[in-house]
């Protein structure tokens, strides 16, 4: 049997694409192959486990293992050969639903200048189309992901309201708001994928602000597998089939550059089979998608679509930089009351900052990291707990913290590739080769702005000394997680500059597409998932021949 569409991966890209394909043609036959297994969602007993300890998250087992430590020893997974400590563990999941199982739901649009990075700065690459070409699909993606956002936010132009109203700023945001207003730093509401209630019919439950978003007991945070299950259970689309524990080894391409089939190992039966399809879409994330093309090298030694050497190259991610303040008293008894942030500032996510690397400031959910449970379980009596709330664990207050995402530019020398050892799923492990020598300087520049905010909030060093950028720089942690891995099969107009064209079709191929963060020519300073969802919906329309044309 030959399927109409074969999709590799079951995350948000596969799900949004499948939904769009079936909306346009409910009789389409679609096979989704997922290397991972199912983790139950919306399970109350498992939720209780997470409530007691976040380490009990049921999908932890679907993460990469840490790198071997020390290097070149047995144990662990993957190999990091670059100078930056990019980590895979905790950055992605091998599971039905992909990394949406644990994503935060931050759903931000790129800005128009992000689509013109090369033209604006001479660095990285331009997108083959502009913001306007994607705007309609951004609106549809916000509906697909059930985003709660502020429709009056003027950061970027929008043609439709968010499907659900924004979450108001928390009390914990108040000192930050006051400080940013005094400093003239713009800020806004975090658009967040948490379902609300509207007139639009849905089987998915609204957010109950339960504060356990890593494992929502209701499924109010978008998890792709819930939506695929919904399609499989409640629609008449008999042609949709999802197979788990299915590791795609290679893609078979015939001499006329047509992808014919994939070779897949079904882990439960340990059988290698061939599955044929009219069109094949690789949606396995920025890392696995590129690796699959690289190892599909029956006809081209360097792999499919890799004549220009861009498959696996230009690897980027966002460093998440945590800026800590000196301890400050907490007279308002501020505490985390939600499990997601409500305040962001894109004040420095602008054209003016683009050449140096745009950045976005997030006031995190635990800006004031009060933890009542630890105090009670640690044997502290009520007066001690009350004193802790205002004076911190040692009487000096609480360190405040900001999270900052910084844009990184693609370099052809930063790569990912296959490592010739299978991981526990049977997928080849990954070699990460990423170096960055400029981030420390950029962090020091950003620290100047953060120091101003902390000073305005009232942070001091000693009795009256203001917080300095040097202090903030010293109390910074750079997390090089690969959560936002991207650009490893980037879009380009010219085949010499990238891997896929503006329709996400691999240059020179007739029927083979990539739909993942891998196709992003650049990632700006914001989370990529909303943009990926928009691209998936756009691809769905393209494959059905009715894409919204607004590419001027």
């Amino acid at each position: 049997m030959s399927f109409d569409f074969l999709i590799i991966g079951s995350g948000v890209a596969a799900t949004a694409l499948t939904e769009r394909l079936l909306k346009n043609d409910p009789s389409a036959s679609i096979l989704i192959l997922e290397a991972g297994d199912r983790v139950p969602t919306r399970d109350f007993a498992l939720w209780q486990e997470v409530l007691l300890d976040k380490k009990n998250l049921p999908y932890v087992r679907c993460r990469d293992l840490p790198y071997p430590n020390p290097p070149n020893t047995l144990g662990g997974e993957n190999l990091n050969v670059g100078s930056a400590p990019v980590t895979l563990v905790g950055s992605r999941l091998f599971v039905y639903g992909g990394s949406t199982m644990e994503w935060g739901g931050w759903s931000l649009r790129l800005k128009p200048e992000d689509f013109m990075l090369r033209s604006e700065t001479g660095r990285g690459a331009d997108w083959p189309f502009g913001y306007d070409a994607l705007e309609t699909y951004y609106c549809q993606a916000e509906s697909h992901l059930a985003v709660s956002g502020n429709s009056s936010d003027a950061t970027v132009a929008r043609s439709a309201d968010y499907p659900f109203r924004h979450f108001p700023f928390t009390f914990q945001d108040k000192p930050v708001i006051d400080a940013m207003e005094a400093l003239g730093i713009s800020f806004g509401n975090m658009p967040i994928a948490r379902r609300g209630i509207s007139d639009v019919r849905s089987r998915h439950a609204p957010c109950q602000t339960t504060g356990t978003c890593d494992y929502c007991p209701f499924g109010a945070r978008y998890v792709a597998s819930n939506y695929l299950d919904d399609m499989r259970t409640w629609t008449d689309c008999a042609g949709l089939e999802v197979r788990l524990n299915s590791v795609v080894e290679t893609i078979d391409v015939d001499p006329s550059n047509k992808a014919r089939a994939v070779r897949v190992t079904y882990r439960t039966s340990d059988q290698l089979k061939t599955e044929e399809a009219e069109r094949i879409i690789v949606a396995g994330g920025a890392i696995e998608s590129a690796k699959l093309l690289q190892r599909s090298n029956q006809h081209c030694p360097s792999g499919i679509g890799n004549d220009s050497g861009h498959v696996g190259a230009n690897f980027v991610t966002h460093p998440m930089v945590i800026f800590n303040s000196p301890p400050m008293p907490n007279p308002l008894r501020l505490q985390p009351e939600l499990d997601f942030p409500t305040l962001i500032s894109r004040h420095f996510d602008t054209k003016a900052q683009q050449a140096a690397g745009k950045f976005m400031i997030v006031n995190p959910k635990d800006h004031v990291p009060v933890d009542l449970a630890v105090r009670l379980k640690g044997g502290k009596a009520r007066p001690d707990v009350d004193a802790y709330l205002t004076n911190g664990p040692d009487g000096h207050g609480f360190m405040r913290r900001f999270l900052v995402y910084v844009e990184v530019f693609g370099e052809k020398t930063n790569t990912i590739s296959n490592y010739p050892h299978p991981n526990r799923l049977g997928l080849l492990e990954t070699v990460v080769n990423f170096s960055n020598n400029t981030m420390q300087n950029r962090v020091a520049e950003i620290a100047k702005e953060i120091a101003k905010i902390y000073t305005q909030i009232g942070a001091q060093l000693g009795l009256a000394t203001q917080v300095t950028a040097e202090y903030v720089t010293r109390h910074t942690h750079i997390d090089w997680g690969a959560h936002h891995a991207a650009s490893t099969c980037r879009m380009s107009v010219d085949p010499r500059d990238g891997v896929v064209d503006a329709d996400l079709k691999i240059h020179g191929m007739e029927n083979l597409y990539v739909c993942s963060n891998a196709v992003f020519p650049s990632i700006g300073a914001v989370n990529p998932t909303l943009t990926l969802t928009a691209l998936a919906l756009r691809l769905g329309d393209h494959l059905n021949g009715n894409r919204v044309r607004n590419d001027a």
Binding site: A45, L74, R194, Q335, E337, L376, G379, A381
Partner: protein, 176 residues
């Protein structure tokens, strides 16, 4: 050379499996397990008294209507995932009864709650970590946190964010 490679592969697989076992959330139950043990009425009553004492010691004072049912559901879920919890609850009931007989109720519970580092391997440690500390987490999440000034908390069902309805957490703007 091939033999060396095979040995390395085998060793590598072994280490991966060892690490993986640590990462996987292993279920104690399987298809051959006996039916889920229930918490006896006597044990449940003792656990409820422990739960009440948490509120007394930390002066939580929230409305506890509905808590008995929530506590029972919590214990049933714990036992369903980890059958050994049936034993933990029984041991806790017996241990607490003995402690109350020895110290009186208030002092007995203080000893459980206020001992920061119980002796390793002691019954006190097991009762505190596996039962009392988990009940503290649950009690705070059900509403105990309200005593400390917030409107929402990790694990609390605060409610939806709906237009024209009160926001289910403290906001930056003063409320009506």
């Amino acid at each position: 050379v091939k033999a060396a490679e095979d040995t390395e592969s085998a060793l590598r697989l072994f280490f991966v499996l060892v690490q993986e076992r640590g990462m996987y959330q292993r279920r104690s139950r399987n298809v051959l397990s006996s039916p889920t043990p229930v918490v006896s009425a006597e044990t449940e009553a003792a656990m409820w008294d422990l739960f009440v004492a948490i509120g007394e010691v930390w002066q939580l004072k929230e409305n506890t209507a509905g808590y008995p049912l929530r506590l029972r559901a919590f214990m049933v879920n714990r036992v369903s995932l980890h059958p050994e919890y049936s034993g933990y609850y029984q041991v806790a009931a017996r241990f607490i009864a003995g402690l109350i007989a020895q110290l009186g109720r208030d002092e007995a519970y203080k000893k459980i709650f206020m001992t920061e580092h119980p002796p390793g391997g002691s019954e006190l440690e097991a009762v505190k970590k596996q039962v009392s500390d988990e009940f503290v987490d649950l009690r705070l999440a059900l509403g105990g946190f309200l005593a400390f000034g917030a409107l929402n908390y990790r694990g609390y069902f605060g409610g939806a964010n709906l237009p024209d309805e009160p926001v289910p957490y403290r906001t930056s703007e003063p409320g009506p």
